[in-house]
């Protein structure tokens, strides 16, 4: 259990050489990685971005019968209302509401009182306590409170040590939550059973439905968690034959820890986006699990059919900028190219050593391609979009709102399913409609609104404010 020793995992910058700021060619950044000369960069101008707390919340906030306590001032974690709304759930959550007095005198009594009271009133099966910057800076004692109350209340009270500042890449928060889940909720020993773990952190219900449909056709028994799962789905995770991670950037730490402790191998497949990648995904899983026949039949049945549908949505060299997870980039670009779009550039929220193969493929296909790394940061994206004459923005990023008002239509892939055959069709259809029916976006082309960005900035190179970090 050495991997779970610390109270929180090593941050991604250290564990995976993750970087969160870069603009340049794919080739140049690959060279830095391969030469062992990777430079950690920072922004000297930055726009608001997600913290680890927001990611950690997403790992736990769809688990049935869980209670979430955010240990911090009143504004911390208020995004949970949005998550509940988005997921059509009413996951119980509370904030300890640290005020000035608590921030000086310490807040552990308050935490204790909150946990007890939440337990008595709601009887959740597990309580997660997420820490925040104030608690981290003041070094308030959370461990002994959660430990005491776990014994006293008879349910796991699980500390999740988020802080909002330790890592420059927010997605580290997934690791922090996963670390605690495995450490506190999954028994040390487990008997093997005949199912595979499907690790899904943030897929929406439509995406999970499609993944479930495909795996069912392969006649595979699955245990899906933590997204929309029950506590027992988590506790039996150690018994699985294999791990399958849907979006590696978020769920990979689960697979890593489960491999380390229970020796569960991972099915190494790339994201099922677009026809070719979905074929490969199914074939890969089929091969690994001895379900080759089922996979072949499914591919035969759906692959051509989907291709026929996509034919209807072919574009005419439309210029598209893509913002998505690094492990999705290749597949989405292939799908876009199948649809006859032209890629003007891509943006990923972060990049680390697990993505190098993807990036290599990308580079070989398109040596000129430029890559922006960062979460949010619409100022850089708009700079690039304007210079490249991008016609459509495809992205999962919430900066989409500010791109929209620049007159560029946005295919927001955050709340639709783009996975599997069905996802490809949905994606293609929505993209096609955006390209053909531009009435809404046209309004903003000649907007008299006050400009958001200065003309001087839009002329500069988009990497102007990305500088090498001074140690």
């Amino acid at each position: 259990m050495a991997v779970l020793k610390g109270k929180a995992p090593v941050i991604r910058e250290k564990s995976l050489s993750a970087i969160g700021a870069y603009y340049g060619t794919v080739e140049a950044i690959l060279r830095e990685f391969y030469d062992g000369n990777l430079k950690q960069r920072v922004r000297t101008f930055s726009q608001d971005t997600n913290s680890d707390i927001l990611y950690a919340l997403q790992v736990i906030n769809t688990i049935e019968n869980a209670g979430i306590i955010i240990h911090g001032p009143r504004g911390c974690g208020i995004i949970q209302n949005h998550f509940n709304n988005r997921n059509s759930l009413a996951t119980m959550w509370a904030v300890t509401n640290i005020d000035e007095e608590d921030s000086i005198l310490g807040s552990d009594i308050k935490l204790r009182k909150t946990v007890k009271s939440i337990y008595e009133e709601n009887h959740p099966g597990v309580i997660f306590v997420l820490t925040t910057s104030v608690v981290a800076i003041n070094n308030d004692d959370v461990a002994s409170v959660t430990q005491d109350l776990t014994e006293e209340l008879g349910i796991p009270v699980v500390p999740v040590y988020t802080d909002g500042f330790r890592s420059k890449v927010g997605v580290t928060g997934c690791d922090v939550a996963i670390h605690s889940i495995v450490k506190y909720l999954i028994p040390n020993k487990a008997e093997k059973e005949n199912f595979i773990n499907v690790i899904s952190v943030n897929e929406n219900r439509e995406s999970l439905e499609e993944i479930g449909r495909l795996l069912e056709a392969l006649e595979v028994e699955t245990n899906v968690f933590p997204g929309f799962s029950k506590l027992q789905d988590l506790t039996r995770a150690g018994s699985a034959l294999f791990n399958l991670v849907i979006r590696k950037g978020e769920g990979d730490y689960f697979a890593k820890v489960l491999k380390d402790i229970y020796d569960i191998p991972e099915i190494e497949v790339n994201a099922p986006i677009g026809i070719k990648a979905t074929d490969k995904w199914l074939a890969g899983i089929g091969e690994q699990l001895g379900k080759e026949r089922q996979a072949r039949e499914l591919i035969e049945k759906e692959s051509l059919y989907t291709a026929d549908i996509l034919e209807k949505y072919k574009l005419d060299r439309t210029k598209v900028f893509l913002s998505c997870e690094p492990e999705y980039a290749n597949s989405v670009i292939s799908l876009l190219e199948d649809l006859n779009a032209e890629i003007t550039g891509i943006k990923v929220p972060y990049l680390d050593i697990t993505h190098l193969k993807h990036m290599e493929k990308l580079y070989r296909k398109n040596p000129e391609l430029s890559l922006l790394i960062g979460e949010g940061q619409p100022y850089e994206q708009i700079n690039i979009l304007k210079k490249t004459g991008t016609e459509i923005f495809v992205g999962n990023d919430l900066a989409a709102g500010s791109i929209a008002v620049e007159g560029i239509p946005v295919l927001n892939i955050e709340n639709i399913n783009i996975l599997g055959y069905r996802g490809s069709m949905v994606f293609a259809e929505k993209l096609y409609k955006l390209v053909k029916y531009r009435g809404f976006a046209e309004n903003f082309k000649y907007s008299s609104n006050r400009p958001v960005y200065q003309a001087g900035w839009l002329k500069k190179n988009a990497n102007w404010y990305i500088k090498q970090e001074v140690k």
Partner: protein
């Protein structure tokens, strides 16, 4: 020691400051805090608003560990220097989050440094643990007025017809922009010039002109605080109403008070008042058959901040014959305002709570026929199978562009929505 809050709906002081600042045209907030603080503000303020609705555009230092350990003043200096080159603005306002305040970053010095180089930058201290989003309205408004008067010291040139409105807080109230618009229209109809300080048509220049207004029209305790400050500083007289003037009577009261202050416009103002009532009654009469056919006399619970829930409750009771079973006040108001409210609602229940669970429990016990509240009341409404109308934040999933609940059309729109909840 403040209590914990289950299903919290109100943000912190920093988030409130962001809500207010992003509603002012030409003002660019610079957030000195850890990542994530202001991202979350987006989900408690009105999700569909203005150009800066997308919080990912907000300048933020996103301070990291070493800036916590060794201090983040240098990071702030760099961010200010670059923000004025990237984001278009006439006034840059540095606001601080918890982490930067605890480690003691010298925001004042960094701001002063930039100001000395000729950049219009001011700072307002807003650590989240020091207050409530509602506290931000007065703090930010005063902060800007004070900040601007340091660099803008021209002689007063009072324009009698120019009027400022204070007390309707942007992004802390779902209908703020429509409500303000309605008041501006009313003032302009009477030959005054409204001075838009928030939302559409607001500019930093308008903020500089605050001192030259002939009158401040203010609502709620916040407005009063600002009005007193401006009276002392610039000698501007004011009209104060302790509530946001919902309902036809609210509008009539403003017009009467204006007529008292501007005797030369009395005739015009009286005529507008008469016309407002006339128009209101004309349209209300269209509702009359439906009101009786569908028995639109319902038992209601209102949930929201005092300045919305309390006056709306009175309007629904006195002007629409509704039975207000309970008014649940979700903001933090001073004791004397609490006492005032208790007096006003002698005959119906009034509760002070911002805890979603307690609010739900109370509503469950009352079993009203309709809730006027927020997104957080939808699950209890579903459970009781009753309609819910949004009057307070958060209102995610509901698009509110410039809809108003104020004035003749706003009052009618509210009654229309209320009635429609029972005519299906």
């Amino acid at each position: 020691m403040a209590d914990y809050i289950e299903f919290n709906r109100n943000g912190c002081l920093l988030q409130g400051a962001v809500s207010v600042l992003k509603a002012i045209g030409g003002v660019v907030p610079i957030i000195h805090s850890t990542a994530g603080c202001a991202v979350q503000e987006k989900y408690i303020s009105n999700a569909a608003n203005g150009y800066a609705a997308d919080n990912y555009t907000l300048a933020c230092t996103n301070v990291i560990e070493k800036q916590i350990i060794f201090g983040g003043s240098a990071r702030l200096r760099e961010q200010i220097k670059n923000t004025v080159k990237v984001l278009e603005g006439e006034l840059y306002v540095v606001v601080s989050g918890c982490a930067s305040e605890i480690v003691g970053d010298d925001m004042g010095a960094m701001t002063k440094e930039a100001a000395e180089q000729g950049y219009p930058v001011i700072n307002i201290s807003t650590p989240g643990f020091k207050g409530h989003s509602f506290d931000a309205y007065v703090k930010v408004t005063r902060g800007i007025i004070e900040g601007l008067s340091r660099s803008y010291n021209q002689e007063l040139a009072v324009d009698r017809d120019l009027i400022n409105i204070f007390g309707i807080a942007p992004n802390i109230d779902p209908y703020w922009e429509g409500n303000l618009g309605e008041l501006y229209n009313l003032l302009e109809e009477a030959g005054f010039r409204a001075n838009p300080l928030f939302g559409y048509r607001s500019t930093v220049e308008n903020w500089k002109q605050i001192r030259n207004a002939g009158l401040n029209v203010v609502f709620t305790g916040w407005g009063l605080e600002i009005a007193r400050y401006l009276e002392e500083k610039f000698g501007t007289p004011y009209i104060y109403m302790d509530e946001v003037p919902f309902g036809i009577e609210g509008i009539e009261e403003i017009l009467e008070r204006l007529a008292d202050a501007y005797q030369d416009k009395k005739e015009l103002l009286d005529r507008i008042r008469w016309q407002a009532r006339d128009k209101y009654l004309y349209f209300l009469s269209k509702l009359a058959p439906c009101y009786y056919r569908h028995h639109i006399q319902k038992e209601a619970v209102l949930v929201g901040p005092s300045y919305i829930a309390a006056p709306l409750a009175k309007f629904l009771e006195n002007g629409f014959g509704q039975i207000v079973r309970s008014v649940i006040i979700t903001n933090n108001i001073p004791r004397h305002e609490k006492e005032q409210l208790l007096k006003k609602f002698e005959n119906s229940e009034i509760i002070f709570s911002e805890d979603g669970r307690r609010i739900e429990d109370r509503i469950r016990a009352i079993r009203p026929e309709i809730i006027l509240g927020s997104q957080l009341e939808t699950s209890i409404a579903k459970e009781l199978d009753i309609p819910v109308l949004y009057i307070s934040l958060p209102t995610e999933g509901r698009i509110i562009l410039n809809k108003s609940l104020l004035g003749v059309s706003g009052s009618l729109a509210l009654l229309e929505a209320y009635s429609n909840a029972f005519t299906r």
